[in-house]
């Protein structure tokens, strides 16, 4: 069943159709949100908010753009709002999280020292991604986490392909500069 058919079914009151639509899109939405929050629990909560929002505003979807484009826009806005609202909370819990992750990863063949280094590196990468300016970050996440084409990203961000290419280039340079000290570690 196509997205349009599913939407028509949902609008006529078929809840099972919404369940089908959700199963189809929950992975991409979850992955995109993960790119912003880097936490499974938060990503699940935000994914839930996204789909509740989709259900409530489905009647306003006019079909000018693809459903997936509309869905990505909702996911991006919800994630960005969440990140902005929780800036201070993230600042205080970041150190706690890195300690937690050391103890949670017992399955890897690394001694505590190596594990600590890996965690430290991951934390730096995560922080560097978080420090990206909003538009660069959005383009970067859609490109890297979702592997969308520049045309698709441009459509979601309502900009040109050229602008997306520039955003991705700048994001790459920003991350290289921020993480230059990791080379050789």
């Amino acid at each position: 069943m196509s997205d349009e058919q599913l939407i028509q079914e949902i609008l006529s009151g078929n809840k099972e159709a919404f369940h089908t639509l959700m199963l189809k899109y929950q992975q991409p939405v979850f992955r995109t949100v993960m790119g912003f929050v880097h936490s499974k629990e938060d990503a699940e909560d935000i994914t839930q908010d996204v789909f509740l929002q989709v259900f409530r505003s489905l009647s306003t979807f006019q079909g000018n753009a693809k459903f997936s484009t509309w869905l990505y826009r909702i996911a991006l806005n919800t994630s960005i709002n969440h990140v902005n609202r929780n800036k201070w909370r993230n600042f205080f819990t970041a150190s706690g999280d890195s300690l937690k992750s050391i103890f949670n990863r017992s399955n890897e063949d690394k001694n505590p020292q190596q594990q600590l280094e890996v965690n430290e590196r991951e934390k730096m990468i995560r922080q560097a991604i978080e420090q990206l300016p909003e538009k660069q970050r959005t383009a970067f996440i859609l490109s890297k986490y979702e592997e969308l084409s520049q045309r698709e990203i441009a459509e979601i961000m309502e900009t040109t392909e050229g602008a997306v290419e520039q955003l991705l280039q700048r994001a790459k340079l920003f991350l290289r500069k921020k993480l230059a000290h990791l080379v050789g570690k």
Binding site: Q27, F30, M34, T47, I125, K144, Y145, R176, L179, L182
Partner: protein
């Protein structure tokens, strides 16, 4: 390891994280709950309006009763015809 590879490696690891397999079910349950709340709200609203209107009327009656005058008051009849006689105040007559 190059920076780009390290970043890709980090992203690859994050992409391996799967959402809870019951996430869709959880969302459907949440949806049902919120719909039930939405359905309850209009009925509750009507009830709340009716109750508050009744309370306001009763409060009005109560407040009105507090200031009720008692019957034991003295009445004074004042004949003010002299007061109103403005000739008394005509300046010329006192000169």
């Amino acid at each position: 390891m190059k920076i780009d590879e390290q970043i890709d490696d980090f992203i690859h690891q994050e992409k391996q994280i799967q959402p809870n397999s019951f996430l869709a079910t959880r969302i459907m349950a949440k949806l049902e709950d919120s719909e039930q709340v939405h359905r309850k709200i209009p009925a509750l609203q009507k009830l709340a309006i009716a109750v508050s209107l009744t309370l306001i009327v009763m409060m009005g009656i109560g407040i009105g009763s507090i200031g009720k005058f008692t019957d034991n008051y003295a009445s004074i009849n004042i004949n003010d015809t002299q007061i109103e006689n403005l000739n008394l105040y005509i300046f010329d007559s006192y000169e």
